[in-house]
């Protein structure tokens, strides 16, 4: 086991897959000479050269579009979007093309594209650069959506995504790059579409993913001081969504809190809660609680921004509600 940062984990995954498969290449804004705006691809340009680490114009439509085309023709592009907010500029390519081309043409070709996008608030970047719109991308059949919360999962899931034949939206949280965690030695591959118990417990089920996994684990630590053992389940993949560990846990705890960083309305919490009620209504001892972002565009001011984002306290409070 090595302890590395999320940034190192993602970087290692890309590096190893580029070493392994010549079809894999990176394209995006400032991925090459600059070394990546989040320094994920630092050193790649020197090692792999300008053909495989391609700096693009600031033009998200053609970044994802060209990646889709290259994927149709059998390459394995990894398109980097500087922030997920810019993915809206490429929304048509993502939802009308990445997600649909294979099935719409009767499976004549695959579209093995990985779109890396940086999501999340909390860095005082104002309303347009601070969104956590992950759930939107999970709405579309045909597109896998991965959002890891630990370095091990980031590395293992990104490698699986690159090796697969399906289009993948790989969402990295901007404030997690420095987060550290244990990553196994050797080949690290994590299965896509499998939720994971990140902390076992018996009293309440907390369902979460990405940055809110870290928040939820902190909340669980605090609750443990009062003798409350929360089971924390990390969805890791938003589509396809694996509810099995969630339902299994819920049948044991009979209580659930869903914690996400995006807005509550039509969110992950709504989907997961509905599925819990569908699958385990007889086990419900308290209404499922949702922790999410306040329903406002995020402000610049630090205090206000933090007030709008879900915090450890909010998770703790929600757990006390269901107990």
């Amino acid at each position: 086991m090595a302890i590395i940062t999320m940034r190192e984990a993602i970087s290692q995954a890309l590096w190893e897959e580029m070493e392994r498969d010549e079809r894999v290449f990176i394209l995006g804004e400032e991925v090459g000479v600059w070394g990546g705006t989040y320094a994920v691809t630092k050193g790649f340009y020197d090692r792999f050269g300008p053909e495989r680490v391609r700096d693009t114009p600031i033009a998200e439509g053609v970044i994802v579009g060209a990646a889709n085309g290259a994927a149709m023709a059998g390459l394995k592009p990894v398109a980097e979007l500087m922030t997920i907010n810019f993915a809206f500029m490429a929304m048509d390519q993502i939802v009308n093309h990445s997600a649909k081309l294979r099935s719409m043409f009767g499976g004549q070709f695959t579209v093995p594209i990985v779109i890396r996008a940086v999501s999340g608030g909390g860095r005082q970047l104002g309303a347009t650069h601070s969104q956590t719109p992950d759930v939107i991308f999970a709405h579309f059949p045909g597109l896998k959506v991965i959002a890891p919360g630990t370095p091990q999962d980031a590395k293992g899931l990104l490698k699986s995504a690159i090796r697969g034949e399906d289009p993948v939206m790989f969402i990295e949280h901007a404030t997690l790059y420095q987060a550290r965690g244990e990553v196994a030695e050797g080949e690290v591959l994590e299965p896509i579409g499998v939720s994971k118990v990140q902390r076992p417990g018996r009293d309440v089920t907390i369902v979460t993913y990405s940055k809110m996994l870290q928040t939820s684990l902190q909340a669980a630590e605090r609750l443990a001081q009062d003798g409350i053992e929360a089971e924390v389940i990390d969805l890791r993949t938003l589509r396809p969504l694996d509810m099995d560990p969630v339902i299994e846990s819920f049948k044991k705890t009979n209580r659930a809190v869903i914690a996400e960083e995006g807005w509550r309305s039509y969110g992950i919490g709504a989907e997961v809660a509905a599925r819990i009620y569908e699958a385990a209504l007889d086990y419900v001892d308290a209404p499922v609680q949702r922790v999410a972002q306040k329903e406002v565009p995020l402000p610049y001011n630090r205090e206000l921004e933090q007030m709008a984002l879900p915090q450890v306290d909010d998770v703790v409070k929600a757990v006390r509600e269901v107990l």
Partner: protein
């Protein structure tokens, strides 16, 4: 050009025309659903262009795609079955009129979001360049597509990266019902390439041999020097799609263009050349009739896609 190849081109253009005329009838009978955009009047562009390609060259187009599919070698059966939504269609009944493709013929579709396939063309060409292949990608689009951001993003990138793409604007004078002058700041679409330092040309899109020659020259440039924009001046004789009230143009204008029927022009050229007489061309017409009838019968008798194809195919890779 070889007399045999000329006759093949003639056959192909007539086949495109008749397949579409039958498709219009089947649409009126309710046997074809969704949208149906006819290529009638524009056959010389597709046939001229595609006849100039090498087998390794990829072709990609917009939703007015039946003619391009046939020019790429797709059988009338495969087209007709897809129009009827059958399992034997080129896209197994999953795509319909706007989404014909056969990657084995290097025909990469029929794409229905205006302008969106231009970035895809950049990517196809990038893949060929990446692998060191000498293949080019021919990307067709309408005049309407040149006003959307994708056009500019894709042309710019193709020039910056020197991608082997032949951009072909089929200027049929109207984006749906809006005349070029009412939608585009410049009425000569080829001028837009100048902004990217991209060589360009304009060709009479009603003359199949002129298109072929222009395409040969352009493809030679593309293989050697990168992207090129070719503007083919053409006209669609039918509405934008079935059910177009055509309030935006007069019947005089349509009639005037129909006098320049690309098939009629080519037929005259062939007769003047003297290698084929009228009887030979009529023979081709009859062969086409039989081919189209066979295609309709085949499509009507083909099975629908099995219900189970609807499920279990969201992803390629097994989950868990």
């Amino acid at each position: 050009m070889e007399p045999k190849e000329l006759l093949r081109l003639y056959h192909e253009m007539v086949l495109i025309r008749r397949v579409e005329e039958r498709a219009a009838e089947l649409y009126q009978q309710g046997k074809i659903g969704g949208f149906l955009h006819l290529y009638i009047g524009q056959e010389a562009v597709g046939s001229g262009l595609v006849s100039a390609r090498m087998p390794q060259d990829r072709v990609i187009t917009a939703y007015r795609d039946h003619g391009i599919a046939i020019a790429c070698g797709m059988s009338a059966r495969s087209v007709m079955a897809e129009l009827l939504g059958k399992a034997t269609g080129c896209s197994k009944g999953m795509g319909g009129s706007m989404h014909l493709a056969d990657v084995n013929l290097n025909f990469w579709g029929g794409h229905a979001i205006v302008g969106a396939h231009l970035p895809l063309a950049s990517g196809l060409a990038l893949a060929d360049k990446y692998r060191g292949s000498d293949a080019a990608t021919i990307c067709l689009f309408g005049d309407g597509a040149t006003n959307i951001g994708y056009f500019h993003e894709a042309l710019n990138l193709s020039k910056v990266w020197s991608l082997p793409v032949l951009w072909v604007c089929e200027n049929n004078q109207y984006g749906m019902g809006t005349a070029v002058e009412r939608a585009s700041a410049v009425s000569q679409i080829r001028q837009k390439a100048e902004g990217y330092g991209m060589p360009n040309a304009r060709v009479d899109g009603m003359d199949v041999l002129a298109v072929r020659k222009a395409a040969e020259d352009a493809l030679a440039h593309v293989r050697k020097n990168g992207p090129f924009l070719l503007e083919a001046m053409t006209y669609r004789f039918r509405g934008h799609s079935m059910g177009d009230p055509e309030r935006y143009r007069g019947s005089d204008e349509v009639r005037r263009w129909q006098e320049d029927d690309p098939i009629g022009i080519f037929r005259k050229v062939l007769l003047e050349r003297g290698e084929h007489d009228a009887a030979a061309l009529d023979g081709e017409d009859q062969r086409v009739e039989a081919e189209v009838q066979d295609a309709v019968t085949f499509a009507e008798q083909s099975p629908n896609p099995a219900p189970e194809t609807l499920f279990g195919s969201e992803f390629v890779d097994r989950v868990r």
